[in-house]
Symmetry: C2
Subunit: 325 residues, 2 copies
DNA sequence: GTGAAAGCGCTAACAT
DNA sequence: ATGTTAGCGCTTTCAC
């Protein structure tokens, strides 16, 4: 294995000079630079990140905490994060967590001195350890109420969705929320709906806001079950808003299985705009999230120099109209 | 940050002794062990993997190379790999590659001294660098013709699929292969079909084996386009075998858009058994791969001690009958 | 059964 | 403009 030493020797300079040309900082004579570059090329030198990381007391690994990795939404995010991280010489590692083993995973992250943590899990972490992480210089995104975070602004898309429903003459929406914690004000989907439904001639009935056991149960199953119970309840509804496209997929199937026609009898709107929701039956009208922007924001919040403790990045949404309304 | 030194000092022993109790190797008196354990607990010591990795000249990172991360199949794999890796104190990092930037990614992997590489991309890597990796002690899985690999034995499932088609009275299958390289003998799907179709009363017509531009184009779009061109070609066919469930999703939609009924007019069989293929319209009959076994095999091939250069692990498949045949 | 000490390859502060 | 050097925290050999 070729070390910086080797390069220095071969170029007839010191390791410091090699370091300077490698990092691009500090003065290096054109002559020295040329010799060093030549040595690097012929020796095929490659920096050992293990050593660099130790020295810097921090790795180039961004940890992504996921609870439901199988939901394509998170893979969209993961993919874009991988790309962005690559541009910035970092790598992303996936960590599966659930509310029972967070502690152990956190231990692991500390041990591995990851450079930052993006929390894509839906439970609110017990980050009493928050300070431990900060002391180590590990940035935490979407982990605590106060820290840096990216907020998906579902409001825009939600308004369009409600307007769309109104145009279709719908008045009694049900809401498949899937998980209690998404009812919290931090998530704009339900709250925006609750506060503005009336304005669009839509009734707001708390009984029609349904929670299930996501993510213990897969999103599409949650959607299916919740939709079935909705049908069984015999409460009148003429459209369904779903927190995620996968839940909408489940709802669509439940509706189909019960002979309820979409969009003739009931309209369905999803959220996420996965790359294949246009292939659902019928093609799903959905609130699209700018997943790329979201993912890039995560990586940037971890890697950029000038990020404040209260940095908040907003990500836009918009309605994509297809055939389910 | 608490170091091994600190623990040693606190326990009144040397770092070597601390190392012994930590690793569980070597003799340590009960007395010393107790003191060390106490110190570890009260100091809240956590090993610094950065340092350990440097010393061992190898990290605990398993690199996974993916080309089409958005295909849920790879996510299933990734998820299971993350779990398995966690059991063995390793972490998995995702690397996006395509045949144009492999070289750079490989450079990156070398720089980061990952402990192993699992190639989930479909192109055959130019691993002329193979030796460079081996010298560094980096294991390569599914990278070269000769190295350790896991083979998905599609034959079992494929036989069941053909039998199923035969029972349904089908005789003229089309095959949506999606990508040229999957036609190679290394992949059992097409080859098993080609060699055995006749036995099940199925015709084998090379003109009905369709390739597209996967993974440059998303799997479901490839499935859609290929199926459309199939319909347009006016060659007779009464069933379609698809290389992946996502391609089947596309085919299903193309068929629907052209008013062709599944399974009445045409039967469709997919491959993978993604967790939501039962929610397709109609629910898809598919060849299920034991994804967990596949994923575990990858991790084990990287991490286990006793892996030979020609180790081959087989993963089973079986047909899941739903409603598309 | 235990301890001392030599690095792993790099970075950066300091000296020249 | 360039070189020297002191660690980063760990593992592991070797000596006691």
């Amino acid at each position: 294995m070729v070390t910086k030493q080797d390069v220095a020797k071969r170029a007839g300079v010191s390791t410091a000079t090699v370091g300077r040309v490698l990092s691009g900082k500090g003065y290096v004579s054109a002559e020295a630079r040329a010799k060093v570059e030549e040595a690097i090329r012929t020796l095929n030198y490659r920096r050992n990140n293990l050593a660099a990381n130790l020295r810097k007391r921090k790795s180039n690994v961004i940890a992504v905490l996921v609870e439901d990795l199988l939901n394509p939404y998170y893979m969209h995010l993961a993919e874009a994060m991988v790309c962005r991280a690559k541009e910035k010489n970092s790598i992303v590692s996936l960590f599966a967590v659930n509310d029972r083993d967070v502690r152990q995973v956190l231990d692991d992250l500390l041990s591995n001195r990851v450079c930052g943590i993006v929390n894509l899990a839906m439970f609110t972490c017990d980050f009493s350890w928050y300070d431990t992480f900060l002391e180590e210089g590990i940035r935490l995104i979407n982990c605590t109420a106060t820290g840096p975070k990216v907020i998906v602004d579902y409001a825009e898309g939600m308004h369009e969705a409600m307007a769309c429903l109104q145009r279709a003459g719908r008045t009694r929406p049900a809401f498949i929320a899937g998980i209690e914690s998404w009812l919290a004000p931090g998530d704009l989907r339900v709250s925006c709906f609750r506060e503005n439904a009336e304005r669009y001639g839509l009734s707001y009935d708390p009984d029609l806001v349904l929670c299930g056991n996501y993510p213990m149960v897969k999103a599409h199953h949650v959607g299916y079950e919740l939709c079935e119970s909705l049908i069984g309840s015999e409460k009148p509804f003429d459209c369904i808003l779903c927190m995620t496209d996968m839940m909408a997929l489940g709802a669509l199937k439940a509706l189909f299985d019960h002979g309820i026609k979409v969009p003739q009898d009931v309209s369905v709107i999803g959220c996420d705009d996965l790359d294949f929701t246009g292939f659902f039956q019928p093609a799903l009208t959905t609130i699209a999230v700018d997943k790329r922007a979201e993912a890039y924001a995560y990586v940037d919040l971890i890697l950029d120099e000038d990020v404040s403790e209260h940095d908040v990045r907003r990500v836009g949404t918009k309605l994509i109209e297809r055939c389910s309304v």
